[in-house]
Point group: C2
Chain length 177, copies 2
DNA sequence: CTTGAATAGATTAAGCCTAAAGTATTGTAG
DNA sequence: CTACAATACTTTAGGCTTAATCTATTCAAG
């Protein structure tokens, strides 16, 4: 494990369980500590998923997310819709779709009636590949969240919904101004 | 296996408030929905912080995080310790420190007794700049999380602690294997 | 002391992501 | 019809992040 050549004795304990939030000082505001814990949790889980997707399927989380979204729309989605769903910029979607097209997992189709737009959808190969990944992915998620009881799951879900809706209000307010 | 129910009328509403999780199908496992909500919340808050840091201070979240960590250690931290604290790779820390050094906000000092190591710490200018940003940052966080009561804050904090510790167990188990 | 493993950092290649600017198309107002 | 704004997408430049690889130094065993 980690060795610290101990400059200051308290460093040893701090570093042992090192992440962004454990060592927040007592004086820090509780909202700040909550935010740091939220960030740490998400990063931990996200990294776990990224590693598993890379090791087991040789893919990445963004590609998986994009395919996951397309899987729900057999008729495909326009680039614009995709970027909205995934909450990323259009340029980003362009790049990821480019790769998936190269790998023959998705295809770009012309949008009838609007020559500006393109419709993206899974190919048959893409759909099959995604099916395998999705089953494994769900198992991983269930496993990594299995430390909570069903009741705690529900409570956490509820609280995050509140965080989300309040955050949406605030960010939209500022964006609009 | 295209098991997606064809376009149903609720699709329209789904797209209107688009993000990764709102439109999760009823059949999806609750763990999956919880994970997607967690991800959405964090992304929402993180994006908000990134935007504010960029607009108000012309800086980025990673730079802020790094300075935030250094601010707690006036004697500085070794690169290795920094990367552990921030939960990122060493190469990443190298790059961010390079920039902050160029901007005269942090400095690299030789580590007495180990010529491999470097100690990084805030310059006086860095410390002052960070102080201004930190005060604003805390206000933003308090504001964006103000939708929850104090009791809900505590409960969310507790639940996330459980998620975190369970995730640490699992990821460390797999990493060690 | 010498050798070889381990450690601290830096570098590289590749992917993700954004904001801003560019291209082509559509819609609309006169 | 023309001009202009809006829309859909792509491109570009730059920053973040990783895994893998490299260099220099330290440590540990003989």
């Amino acid at each position: 494990m980690l060795r610290v050549t101990a400059i200051d004795p308290s460093d040893e304990a701090r570093v042992r369980r090192a992440d962004r939030e454990t060592s927040a000082r007592a004086g820090d505001h509780r909202a700040l500590r909550l935010w740091l814990r939220l960030l740490t949790c998400t990063q931990l889980l996200e990294r776990h998923m990224r590693n598993l997707l890379r090791l087991r399927f040789g893919t990445t989380l963004p590609r998986f997310d994009l395919m996951s979204r397309l899987e729900r729309y057999p008729e495909g989605l326009k680039m614009k819709e995709l970027s909205h769903h995934l909450m990323v910029t259009g340029g980003n979607v362009t790049g990821i779709v480019d790769q998936l097209v190269r790998e023959r997992l998705v295809e770009r189709l012309p949008e009838p009636g609007d020559r500006r737009a393109l419709r993206v959808r899974l190919t048959r190969a893409g759909d099959e590949a995604f099916g395998k990944m999705a089953r494994a992915h769900e198992e991983w998620i269930v496993s990594v969240l299995s430390g909570l009881s069903r009741k705690e799951h529900a409570e956490l879900f509820r609280l995050l919904a509140k965080v989300k809706s309040h955050a949406l209000e605030i960010t939209e307010r500022k964006d609009g101004a």
